[in-house]
Amino acid sequence: MKKFALVMLVLVMAFAVTACGSKDDAADPIKIGVQGPISGQWALEGTGFVRAVTMLAEEINADGGINGREIQIIQGDDKGDPKEATLVAQRLVNQGVVAVVGAYNSTATEPASAIYNEAGVLHVTPSSTATGLTEKGYDQFFRTCFLDDRQGLFAAEFMTGTLGAKKIALIHDNTTYAKGLADWTKIYLEELGAEVVFFDAIVPGEREFGPTLTRLKNVNPDAIYFTGYFSEGGLLLKQARDMGITSTFVAGNANNNADFIEIAGIQNAKGAIITTEPIPTDIDYPEARKFIDDYQARYGEMPPSIWTLSAADAFRVVVEAIEKTQSTDKDKLANYLHNTMKDFPGITGPITFDEKGDRLGTVHRAYIVNEKGEFVPYSN
């Protein structure tokens, strides 16, 4: 049995060595992996990744490829599951990919990123926002999505700048996401010179916010920013208006749901604002227009979500790095993305990475509830 295991080990290692050995031959196509939940509960998102990346690769190949070499896309379906993700990552590495776009959810991205880091494969996730992912010191890991602190920055700038609010109340619900967003918003608000006059949590599942709002009414804020979920957000807004609180009500992206308006009632929801990633059709960069048109022409439907656009950006960033460095060496690629590339014209806006691989800037937008109870882009 021991002997058998040893033989297997040797075989596996030999295979791995040959796989690595054949990695970079100038005549071969450049292999780029796309990992995501192509089946399972998030199949829509994973399929969006594959479609976006495949379409762009075919466009590039039709124009003669990168530096004269063709791009070959290799798919990996991780079903959003961390166990599957490690298998998929191992398989992609064995097949000799130089870069990978994916995965969708942070739970799947995390184990995969360790494997890619070890194998020296450039790894760009379009959608995994867990803060810890870029805290591991992996120099070849990047993301084209924005973290919650970016939404906090946007909300802080929007409330102090566009709305001109000086006194702001922050309400979260003690979940990791909502508390994190509220904490970041507080930091940025204070940097911008606004005063956080109220900072407290409500309890998810609770329906009576009278006690909290009575206290909030006393400090009379210019704006309220609620970072929790729509089911409480709608109630909070309604009860605030019932109590005669007239402060502008702003809520985070977990309130981007029609039920938010329905629970609050159109009368109360009218004029409420949410900060959120824009829906794909509201992005007005020329690159976005072209991408969405091409996507629609090719697949006969709209990209399912903003993450499809983000996946396209992840792929375009990889291509840009390979093209500019004339190399598939991960150190050169990573160095280019970290230090050289500034304001690359992405589909979701200018792309610049910081030293950790996180994206600078923000994609978030403000939407306001109109008289008919619909979210429409905010304009002055």
Partner: protein, 302 residues
């Protein structure tokens, strides 16, 4: 000072809902010495039935007068939830009445899970939202404190129901029979009281009150979910213990105290600490008075 009164009003409103639900726990405990864990789900059922009457059956189209419509709806909700309550007792509790104290409690937990899932399967797992304007949104400003019409309705309905129940229990023959059953089933039977009938009656009154409370929560907050019974159930159960379980005025007092304590805690300290404060008060009262505020010290029967 305005804030203080505001918080007191918040507390009394939510407390009167707790009290209404607590009555169901305390009455069942009084006659059967068991905790009806499925009571929270009967409360949820009241909210969902009201939702169906308003949205699917469009009750308002048949009864143009809002006041009459609300009363008719309350009676129908109370009746339907009471039927479920009686069935619950007949199916889940009665066969176990002679089998010690633990079996009915387990059965009640099972019934609670069953009802919760049944509600989810019938109405779906999403939040349901009551339409606007079933109760006109009128707000009065009294000394800097805003009071909505719905709050006034909740308060007056709960108080009326509680007073009616108190009169029923203390002043009528049926009430005397209920109190007799609470003291001793066998002796009550010797006095010619049909104990089974009284237990059924308790499972009509308790669920009916719980159902009306659920309906009012639905009308006021307008957002209902199939798990809402747990939250209100646990609070009402606490209120029942606080006041002395088995004691009807105790449940009312317990509910109001719990509501006000929560409200002041959330208002002056932090909303996140609200439950901790409410339960701290419960612990203190139970240390000082193990039978609850109004609970009588009854010698254990051997």
């Amino acid at each position: 000072m305005e804030m203080f009164f505001g918080q007191i009003i918040n507390g009394i409103t939510i407390g009167s809902i707790y009290a209404l639900v607590a009555l169901g726990y305390t009455m069942v405990y009084g006659v059967l010495r068991m905790i009806n864990f499925a009571h929270g789900e009967l409360f949820t059922l009241g909210a969902y039935m009201a939702f169906t009457m308003i949205v699917s059956m469009n009750l308002a189209a048949y009864i143009p007068n809002a006041v009459v419509a609300l009363i008719v709806m309350a009676v129908m909700v109370a009746g339907l939830v009471a039927i479920v309550g009686v069935l619950l007792e007949r199916i889940a509790y009665k066969p176990l009445r002679q089998s010690g104290r633990l079996a009915p409690v387990i059965s009640a937990l099972g019934a609670s899970i069953f009802l919760q899932n049944a509600i989810m399967l019938i109405w779906g797992a999403n939040y349901k939202v009551f339409p606007e304007g079933v109760v006109p949104s009128i707000t009065w400003e009294i000394g800097g404190v805003s009071i909505t019409l719905m709050r006034v309705l909740i308060l007056s309905t709960s108080l009326t129901l509680m007073i009616a129940l108190y009169v029923l229990i203390q002043r009528t023959q049926v009430g005397t029979a209920i109190r007799a059953c609470a003291l001793d089933h066998d002796t009550a039977r010797l006095m010619g009281i049909d104990v089974d009938k009284i237990i059924r009656l308790v499972f009509i009154i308790g669920p009916a009150l719980g159902g009306i409370a659920g309906m009012m929560v639905g009308l006021y907050y307008r957002q209902i979910g199939f798990t809402m019974g747990w939250h209100y159930g646990i609070k009402a159960f606490t209120a029942a213990i606080l006041g002395g379980i088995g004691n009807i005025p105790g449940a009312m007092v317990g509910g109001l105290i719990l509501g006000v304590a929560e409200s002041l805690g959330a208002g002056y300290i932090s909303n996140a600490w609200k439950d901790a404060i409410a339960f701290l008060i419960l612990i203190l009262i139970l240390i000082l008075r193990p039978t609850g505020l109004l609970g009588e010290r009854v010698a254990e029967k051997v």
